[in-house]
Chain length 106, copies 2
DNA sequence: GACTATACCTCGAAGTTAGAGGTATCCGAG
DNA sequence: CTCGGATACCTCTAACTTCGAGGTATAGTC
């Protein structure tokens, strides 16, 4: 039902190339602190997405340190569209349910 | 991260007393067909919610058949408020992330 | 008398996520 | 120079949720 981490990763990487450690902080920022995913979620997700062809990576040395930058492939962009639509559907459904008539309040 | 089934159940039961089999169909209807939860999800969830004091039940004979009707307790209403707020937070965060600037399209 | 719909339920497999833990480098402070 | 904190990568297991299949029984219909 979820797949939220995957959606977020694809979305951010569709805007610009980023590396794992950076994504951890970017997700927090991009969601207005609402969602915080640890490295234990990000790295395995990144590897899975690369394996299935949604992402491609390249190593880049920055100040003696090596970073692994990820970016979307065509397939990844398609997957992003699909997941984003699916999310809107679910989100819309729940919003509908939550907003209907009223209960005790007001 | 999810807890969506629980949220939906609490929400529907806050509107009126219902029984399990009915809830399965109500969830589909209330979410505009977007979400469909099977009995294997509903019954265990109902039992867990009753055990932790969010719901109370009563058996009612209807046409020779016995139904178990569930309704919210005070604690359940509090839990609903909490989960609903949490959901809005998550949902808002993801929407923010999805809406930011733009990628390839338009 | 058989089949469908109603109504309840449980179980185990499958998938996701979180958190803890592990390595190594760089940089600034003391 | 040495210590600690930030950077940067990674893996593993446990926990939790959720799904689907399967199981029982009654009521009504053809």
């Amino acid at each position: 039902m979820s797949g939220v981490p995957e959606l977020l990763l694809l979305r951010l990487l569709d805007q610009r190339e980023m590396y794992g450690y950076e994504l951890v902080r970017s997700i927090r920022a991009a969601t207005g602190e609402a969602i915080s995913l640890g490295e234990g979620v990000i790295y395995p997700a990144l590897h899975a997405l690369e394996k299935n062809g949604s992402l491609k990576s390249r190593r880049k040395a920055v100040g003696g340190r090596t970073r692994v930058y990820y970016s979307l492939t065509t397939k990844g962009r398609q997957r992003l569209d699909r997941l984003a639509n699916e999310w809107r559907r679910i989100q819309g459904g729940i919003t509908t349910a939550l907003e209907s008539p009223a209960h005790g309040s007001a």
